[in-house]
Structure formats: C-alpha cells, structure tokens
Amino acid sequence: MRRRQLIALVRKDLRLELRTRETIVAMVLFAIVMMVILQFGFGTRDDDLTRFVGGLMWVTLAFTAVLGVGRSYVAEREQRVLDGLLVAPVPRMVMLAAKAIAILIYMVAVEVVVIPLVGIFFVQGPYWGAIGWIAITALLADICIALAGTLFSGLALFTRARDLILPVLFLPALVPVVIAAAGATHAVAGGPHDMSEWRGYCLFLLGYAILFALVSIATYDAVFDD
C-alpha cells in the first residue's frame, strides 16, 4: 500500500516535470552559467582547473540544489496539491520519501550533464579514470541534499519570504556536504588520488545522510501538522 503511494507520488512529481520541463532544464542552465562564472571568478584564465575540481563542481551543485529544492514544492503550494495530499490517507513519511526521491532524481539528472562537462571544460588531470568514484560521491551527496532539502523546504513552505528563507536555512546545513563531497572529488580527481581520504569523506556523507534521515523521520510529521 505504502509502496504504491510512494510510487504514485514520485510519478506525480516526475510527470509534472516531464510535461513542463521547468525545473531540471533551469537547473542545468543555472549550473553551466555558474561554472562559467566560477571559471572567470577564479581569475586564472587557466585551461586546467584540476586543483579546484572539487570546489568548482560542488559549489555549482550546491547552489543548483537550492534552486531545485526551492522549486520542489511549487505545485503543492500554488496548485493546492498539498491540501489534497494532507486530507488523503497518505502517511507523512511516504510524502517525505517521495519528495526526497524526486529531488534525488532532479539532482542525478543535472549531474549527468554537469559532471562530464566539468571533465571536458575544466580538468586536464586524471578525471575520466575516476568518473566512477565521482559518481558514487555524487550519489551519496545527492542523498544528503535530498533529505536535508526535503525537510528545510517543508519548513520554508509557509513562511514569509520563503524564497529567501530556504537558502538561509538550507545552505549552512549543506556546508558539511560540500566540504566532504568536494574533498572526496578532489581526492580522486584533483591530483593526489588518495582512496583512503575518499573513503573517509564518503563515510562522512553516509553518516550525514543517516543522521538527517533520522531527524526527518522524527520531525516530518510535525512539519505539516496544521
């Protein structure tokens, strides 16, 4: 029963996205513009940004995530979908999981474009050999982003100036994720190729994901307790 509800809610988000193509396209464009700005922002005009690969990728993806997470509840709020969901016999936990999965899928869709672009445009180092490790890092970081993003976007949903509140709440919580994901990416693609460092950062991301999953499970009922 719950699995069917979960699948239905995730399909609802994805179908809406496939019809409008608003969020993912905007996120990809934003990420590309962001990377170009960062390239010039570094002030080096260098063809090889291998040393900065972790930072370049994860600063871009963190801000892109804020954009995506901010859009994730638009239909629920503007089309009053949330009213329908709240009166339907759907456990809050299923709503949380469905929204987290939708955000995770958005992030993976963006990274399918962004991660190869980083390798093509900015990095001359051993990037492609490490693409598998980068993908695992990205998936772990995406789970962290999806869980924290779902909780914080739920909190920001009915506040005044919610578009401003979400980044203020979400970005500080994302900093440890950016530190770990950028560190892990740098460890495998930034020159040193230190697998023990990569493992340490990935375990940190896993710990973050578990912690935020527990916090979300414990508190999400109260977010929509109106």
């Binding site: 914080f152 909190l155 509140i165 440890p176 940190f204 109260a222």
Partner: protein, 239 residues
C-alpha cells in the same frame, strides 16, 4: 504561572529563587576560575600565556554545545506536549548558545593570531565548522521571525532538532579532514593536559555551564514576568 492580585507583599514569580541561586553560583565560579586560570594554573611550556585562553575557549565551546543540546531536548518536548514553556526554553537556550558560539569563534581567532600569526585559518576544519554552527543557529532566528504563532514554535522546534544534528558533524569533520593545526584537548585516551591544568579547566567548564544555566533562568524569568504583567494588565483593564 500568574501572580495573585491579592498579595500585599512583592509579587513573586516561579523561578525567581532559581535565578538568584544560579546567578550566585555562576558569579562565584567565574571569579574563582578567572583568578585560577590567570594566576594559579601553570604556564604552558610551548605556547606561553596565550594557552590560557584555551581554558575559556574550550569551556565556552562545550557550554554552547550543552545549550544547543538543551534546545534540542526542549524542541522535542515542545513537539510532544505543545507547551509554549518548552518553546521559551528552546529559544532562550539557542540565544545563549549562539552568544557562546560567537565567543568561541572570537577566542579561537585570538588564539590563531597569537599562534599562527593570522586571525583566521581556513585549513582548520573545527574552527570553520564552528562558524557553520553559528550560521545554522543564526538562521534559527530568521526562520522564527518569518513564521507566526503555532507554526513559529513548531518550525523552531524542528529546526532546533535538525540544527543539533549538525553539531556532531562539526566534531567529526576534524577527524575526517585530519587537521594538523588544531590542538585536540580531549582524545579517546583522555584529557591531553597535566592534572594542575585539568583542575582549572574543569573549574572554568563548571563556571561556563553555571553561567549558561543562570542566563537561561534569567531569560525565562523575564519571559514569565512579561506574561504575568500582560495578564495583570488585562485583568486590571477588565476591572
């Protein structure tokens, strides 16, 4: 609790005595530990006088974590009971914890200047992550100011719980990144200092925790007074 209008003597509020007791304990402990830290504790052979800031730097850091822990527990209790007194305790604890955290960053920065010659060291993850903890808890007040009534208290409680979840991440980050600069006072093997220093460190720690409790009691007393005054005004206006 609302005070009675029929009393002839001064109106007394619940928690007044606790505020006085904790205020006294905190004052004594702060004075004694300050004298002990600066005049009695031995000077560190390597770092000299600047090491003395660590007695307060670490003690305030731990006291701020206690404050965030209390806020988290108060947040959980608010969500369970919906009693606004827990919301008061949650907000007051975070306010004091934030004040302590800012002091941690400032004292850490002073130590960095004396030890490393620079006010800020980005390669030290613990100091940096402490800054993130400050940013997380500043956002608590932004969230609080942009929601109303029940939602304000509910969202604040949830955020206090989520914010506290970030605190162990702050601690763990130092182990992940393997910082080589930040001295680790407490390790798995125990305290990394001699007994003569540890005594004064414990005293400074007790002083900071007592100071937190005293400030919390005073803050909560202020809120109770405001509410009691509000209730009295309403009753007087009704005649």
């Amino acid at each position: 609790m609302t005070p009675s209008l029929t009393t002839d003597g001064p109106v007394r509020l619940r928690g007044e005595r606790a505020a006085i007791i904790w205020g006294t304990i905190a004052t004594v402990l702060v004075v004694v530990s300050t004298i002990g830290v600066f005049l009695v504790a031995p000077e560190d052979a390597d770092q000299g006088i600047i090491q003395r800031i660590f007695y307060f730097h670490v003690a305030i850091a731990i006291a701020s974590l206690v404050a965030y822990g209390v806020a988290c527990v108060a947040g959980i209790l608010y969500l369970r009971t919906r009693d606004r007194r827990w919301d008061d305790a949650c907000e007051a604890s975070i306010r004091i914890g934030l004040l302590f955290s800012v002091l941690v960053v400032i004292t850490g920065s002073i130590w960095a200047k004396a030890s490393w010659g620079t006010w800020w060291v980005w390669t030290d993850p613990r100091l940096v992550t402490y800054l993130i903890v400050v940013l997380i808890y500043v956002a608590y007040f932004v969230l609080r100011s942009s929601a109303e009534d029940d939602r304000k208290m509910r969202y604040s409680a949830i955020y206090a719980i989520a914010g506290f979840a970030s605190v162990p991440l702050s601690f763990y980050s130092v182990r992940v990144a393997e910082s080589f600069v930040h001295p680790v006072v407490f390790t798995g093997g125990g305290a990394n200092m001699p007994t003569s220093m540890l005594t004064w460190f414990i005293m400074a720690q007790a002083a900071m925790v007592a100071l937190f409790i005293a400030l919390l009691e005073v803050d909560l007393l202020g809120r109770r007074s405001e509410r009691a005054l509000h209730m009295l005004t309403i009753r007087l206006e009704r005649g």
